[in-house]
Symmetry: C2
DNA sequence: CGGAGTGCTGTTAGCGCTAACACTACCTCG
DNA sequence: CGAGGTAGTGTTAGCGCTAACAGCACTCCG
């Protein structure tokens, strides 16, 4: 029933359909060879204007669409990039993904994504493998975890790979926002307000960004010979920020808090409100990320902004270099910007 | 060892590399025909265990990886789905994307995405076209805009397409969360608190979800013969919610507000706080979406939760049906759930 | 003992496309 | 005026894979 038997047995019930037109079909209709059609379609090689017209008309009429699989098979190029993304609604990773997709599309590449839940050595390896099966020409790994570095080392070297947010020890080129410097700025801003020290609500220990932000905070304090309070650790979620906030309530000399992201800062604000601690009157709070909501927190949150569009663009550029055969290995940093709002306001 | 050129011709600087091994290479090493290797790799057809071992060993040794382009060319199946996504960090669309990607991957499909900024007829058409070039077998359109329905009508009918969040007039099957009922629940919840009426901060007029939520709110009031206040319209952003909140301040009898999403509700809360209006003491506020932050707003926000994982699963299921040739046309609704928190709390 | 399976393997053709080269007409220039 | 272009077109040979069928050896059963 499904088969392509004798003529007159049309009307295949559903699946295969009447087959897409091929170069040969167009060639037949235009009265030229398939090669001429190929030249018209790809604008490679000379074709007489008159012939081109005829071919174009046939293409139009038949609704011809080049078959990527065939082209890929013969050229070895698929025009597709792969992105290994973290399955999460975290603002950073999601924004990065869009930034990359954007840059790739502008350059005429398609994008295949493969998301991983728990980024360990195997799952990143699996994701890369699955993308390679889709014949991608290069791969971007959004790998904010400490373990990702090791995972990347296990990735075969015969395909261009770049990472976003990976550690400097990663065996591939890395783009990331300058987390360290962002944290330094936030901390110095808080200290400039006259505080003796700054408490820190850190992100999960296995995230590089959490480590960098923590280091930026810690070393800023140390550089000035200030006391470094014990960090309270969360998992990026507002809930964990809330718990961290409760743990901070009542600490002696609690005057300034730097949270490793905005969502946790929100939880901290909530916990403080419940405990009757006023922000900014009693305590100053700063976050990191500048999520769109941050300006409307209660109170509006001072935070550190990351330019993800720029990250996406740089990442794609780097991947393009690699695909062209360049042997880039550098770590590229995108600067972060401090946004001051009421949560560290005067008074 | 890796190279198949004459000795001394090593070290191709970069691009082409020493060519991936093919079926024929594996066959040569295992001393069988390429067809036998194919059978082993695809587990199609009988192969003697001993032979299979030999083949598998060769596959391993050579690092053989099937060439998808070739397979796609001959079978006409690429194992890839396309998703037309909205380029935005809005919680809903982003979550939907992950839900779909999840379901697809579990079923062994790859996912190619193509995001559109401003969804009009052409950009959705372009996106679909660009995905088709990547030889996808089916397409999911995340199309929350009113115009998307018309855009979908222009999409060629020879490839399975389903939509998420499209209108009921869409020419393709549609999955969506029951926005109308969610809005009804939120409104009734507010009314049950004893209020005379409920104000509404609506989403952008060209979003279907905004329309459905508004309709759910409006008809609930009308059904009870209550006064329907003029809506204040925002664009989903916290900023627009803030402005809406300022516009609401001072309205006579302002006791209950239903915001079409959580981000705008945040802005409303902020505006009220600035104006000295207390929530929930003076006014009750409810939102829609249940973003992870909502539970830690100040105060925690009553809202309507949508199950995006379920939406993703159902969407993929529907697309699978279509790809199998089914002629589904129904509109599938996923129920929404009311989550009550302090912003509509007692007192 | 012959015919009909059935398990295993190989051969062949072709998916739709591009690279490489071949061919024809015409044109240029020493 | 013939050598050597160049513009325009066609021919051929694969890219790596699977479908379809063609063996061959062996078993089973009447």
């Amino acid at each position: 029933m499904v088969d392509r038997a004798k003529p007159g047995e049309q009307a295949r019930t559903s699946a295969p359909g009447p087959r897409q037109p091929s170069l040969a079909d167009v060639a037949g209709m235009a009265g030229v060879s398939h090669m001429t059609v190929s030249r018209v379609v790809n604008e490679s090689g000379p074709v007489r204007p008159e012939t081109r017209e005829r071919v174009l008309a046939a293409v139009q009429k038949l609704g011809y669409r080049p078959n990527t699989a065939a082209r890929t098979l013969v050229t070895g190029r698929s025009g597709t990039l792969g992105v290994v993304a973290l399955e999460s609604n975290l603002y950073g990773p999601a924004s990065t993904l869009y930034g990359i997709e954007n840059a790739a599309r502008e350059a005429g590449y398609g994008v295949a994504i493969c998301s991983v839940t728990r980024p360990g050595r195997t799952s990143i390896g699996d994701a890369v493998e699955s993308l390679r099966r889709q014949a991608v020409e290069g791969i971007v790994v959004i790998a904010p975890h400490v373990t990702a570095g090791r995972a990347l080392a296990a990735v075969p070297g015969d395909i261009p790979v770049v990472a976003v947010g990976g550690g400097k020890s990663a065996p591939v080129p890395v783009i990331s926002v300058d987390q360290y410097d962002g944290a330094r700025r936030a901390t110095e801003h808080l200290l400039a307000l006259g505080h003796r020290t700054v408490w820190h609500v850190a992100g999960p220990e296995d995230w590089l960004e959490a480590r960098d932000r923590e280091r930026g905070w810690r070393e800023t304090l140390e550089r000035r010979g200030l006391r470094v309070p014990a960090v309270v650790r969360g998992d990026w979620s507002p809930r964990s920020g809330y718990e961290a906030g409760r743990a901070l309530v009542g600490k002696r000399g609690l005057k300034a808090v730097f949270s490793a992201n905005d969502q946790m800062a929100l939880g901290v604000l909530r916990a403080f409100t419940e405990a009757g601690i006023r922000v900014p009157e009693d305590v100053h709070v700063a976050g990191f990320d500048d999520v769109p909501e941050a300006a409307y927190f209660n109170p509006p949150l001072t935070t550190v902004r990351q330019d993800f569009i720029e990250v996406g663009r740089k990442t794609f550029g780097l991947l393009e270099d690699r695909m062209a055969g360049g042997d880039v290995r550098a770590r590229h940093l995108v600067p972060a910007e401090l946004i001051v709002r009421e949560s560290t306001g005067p008074r």
